[in-house]
């Protein structure tokens, strides 16, 4: 990892709005060819960071460098970044071709050079033949593809994507995700992706930055984030998680890390079966443990001889312990 080239560096960056909202003391290194995702609940400051990178917001303090050069004094048109917004990316009074060519023309690239590039890029995003159409004639997903194509044509040093798929329905989202990952891999570009969908973040990223209330909670690979959440917020935000309170501490354990045994006193916790729901190849079972409701995923054959109200014992497998919201070393 250490021999990889650093593309983007955010150094102790603070951006405060007039009303006091914003992000503070952000530090992050992004390596070349990486997809880094900012993940967090609405209003946590994901877009704020992305917009400071794109040049649409001035930073209050700190510095941002790309390839070692500070960019904070540059207007958006001078930055080596390209941004795709959640929606309203395209200019409705221009055809798709004109939309794609706009930035290339500004760079004084001759048409003979960019024309084949546009054709190739349209092929890459599976939109060949849409050159003469207007954005209003395309579906939401197709429009976002064009927006991504437009950004890629400019060969940005850094591609910024602010929830580009959030307006699309689940199936197209999935497709777009896969396509983006493939395109990124083929072209080897560096991508910063913003989403509040943890599934999307897990599927797409090399590293995830989990954010909460203007701060970074944890930065790590999807595996690290999933297996080793550093704060209670990360644990609750990513995947499904049970929280069991015990003597001032919180035990966090995933439904797949619990083993269910029929009968009392056979394992760590004594509980009773509350509900049982067939999910396909496994059963999602909830158990009542004191005040807590615990969710477990169990095999179908185990679930078959359990009835609602039966006494069971739960064995806790892999888990994490939190004290005052942060991970306790013990």
């Amino acid at each position: 990892m250490s021999d990889r080239k650093i593309k983007l560096q955010i150094k102790d960056m603070t951006k405060k709005y007039d009303n006091g909202d914003g992000v503070a003391h952000i530090n992050l290194d992004v390596y070349e060819g990486e997809i880094v995702t900012f993940l967090g609940p609405s209003g946590c400051g994901k877009s704020t960071i992305l917009r400071t990178l794109g040049g649409f917001l001035d930073v209050t303090e700190g510095d941002i460098t790309i390839d070692g050069k500070s960019i904070i004094a540059l207007p958006p048109e001078k930055r080596p970044t390209a941004m795709v917004f959640q929606s309203y990316n395209l200019w409705p009074h221009m055809t798709i071709y004109e939309n794609l060519a706009f930035g290339l023309k500004l760079r004084k690239i001759p048409k003979s050079t960019y024309d084949p590039d546009i054709k190739k890029m349209l092929e890459l995003v599976h939109m060949s033949g849409s050159e003469k159409k207007y954005p209003g004639q395309l579906s939401g997903g197709q429009q976002q593809r064009i927006a991504i194509a437009r950004s890629l044509l400019l060969k940005p040093s850094l591609l910024l994507l602010d929830e580009p798929f959030s307006a699309l329905d689940a199936k197209i989202r999935q497709e777009m995700r896969e396509e983006l990952k493939k395109i990124q891999n083929d072209l080897g570009i560096t991508v910063i992706f913003v989403t509040h969908d943890q599934e999307e973040a897990m599927a797409l990223s090399h590293r995830i930055v989990v954010m909460n209330k203007g701060k970074f909670d944890q930065v790590g690979t999807p595996e690290e984030i999933y297996d080793d959440p550093q704060t209670l917020h990360v644990a609750s935000f990513i995947g499904e998680m049970n929280f069991i309170d015990a003597d001032g501490k919180t035990i966090a354990v995933r439904p797949e890390d619990l083993t269910v045994v029929k009968g009392t006193d056979k394992a760590d916790l004594n509980a009773t079966v509350r509900t049982s729901m067939l999910m396909g190849h496994y059963v999602s079972l909830t158990a009542q443990y004191g005040e807590n409701i615990i969710k477990c995923f169990v095999d179908r054959d185990v679930a078959e001889d359990l009835e609602v109200g039966d006494a069971i014992s739960l064995a806790i497998g892999k888990h994490t312990i939190f004290k005052d919201g942060v991970r306790s070393k013990a």
């Binding site: 207007p75 009074h93 930035g103």
Partner: protein
């Protein structure tokens, strides 16, 4: 086919709601196009006396008469000159104002916006009189600039409100995307913002032009006898009323530019563009 002309049959065929709509539409058409047709007819009537429905003699006599009269021809030229200058100057002043209202949040923005309404809220004659007092002081009475200022005051509300709402309907992200791909702020305005706001601006421009073409009250008051636009000249003709046909010819001359402009801007003019202009936010 002719069976359908029986009202009862028609009523049951299309249903009650449609039938009422149809009646309403028919009345509407009669109401709007009736006078228009009558006027068209009169303009081409060499001789016409009241009890007749159709003119006794058709012809272009009155067109010849209008274009033969120096003062009438000059009124046509004056009207167009004033309207074109009013429109151009209004655009130069009002479009930037509209943009600032749409894009920047500054204290007093709402009041600024409402101030344009005020010029249309007070009785016109009162405003004209008080303006006339000022104009005397500055020697603007009976001059083109004086008349043009009056016309601009009349159209300012449209010229600011409609384009402002048009600018507001351009999403910020669309402007930001243009900056992002490498356009500076000025290029972004002319290549993205302005073209996208064009429908609203066209409608406003049209209103300004047509409003100026038909303004008579203020022109008479401020223009004194020096400036005689078509509507002012029309007053004289109507009072004279020796021949209604001259009025009809004039009316058509007034309609031609409107029709032409509406035709040229048809792409941009729709109920939404007009209705959109009156949202205040």
């Amino acid at each position: 086919m002719f069976k359908m002309l029986n009202p009862k049959r028609f009523y049951y065929a299309v249903g009650r709601k449609k039938f009422l709509e149809f009646i309403l539409l028919a009345v509407f058409i009669l109401f709007f196009y009736g006078p228009l047709m009558n006027m068209l007819m009169l303009a081409f009537a060499n001789e016409y006396t009241v009890p007749h429905v159709l003119p006794e003699v058709w012809g272009l006599k009155w067109w010849g008469y209008v274009f033969g009269q120096k003062s009438l021809v000059s009124s046509i030229i004056q009207s167009f000159t004033v309207a074109v200058i009013t429109t151009v100057i209004s655009m130069i002043f009002c479009i930037p104002a509209a943009y600032s209202i749409a894009r920047f949040k500054y204290p007093g923005r709402k009041i600024f916006m409402l101030s344009f309404l005020l010029t249309n809220a007070f009785p016109k004659l009162g405003i004209y009189t008080s303006i006339a007092v000022l104009f005397y002081k500055y020697g603007l009475m009976g001059t083109y600039p004086g008349v043009i200022i009056i016309h601009m005051i009349n159209s300012m509300m449209f010229m600011v409100w409609l384009p402002s709402s048009a600018f507001r309907s351009v999403h910020r992200q669309q402007e930001e995307a243009a900056r992002d791909v490498g356009a500076g702020p000025i290029r972004t305005f002319f290549k993205v913002t302005l073209p996208m706001a064009m429908p609203g601006i066209s409608v406003a421009t049209l209103y300004t032009f047509l409003g100026s073409m038909e303004e008579a009250q203020g022109t008479m008051l401020v223009g004194l006898a020096n400036i005689k636009t078509m509507p002012v000249a029309m007053y004289g003709i109507v009072l004279d009323s020796s021949a209604v046909q001259i009025g009809a010819v004039f009316a058509i001359l007034l309609i031609i530019p409107s029709a032409l402009m509406i035709f040229l801007m048809r792409k941009y003019i729709g109920p939404e563009a007009i209705a959109g202009g009156f949202k205040m936010k």
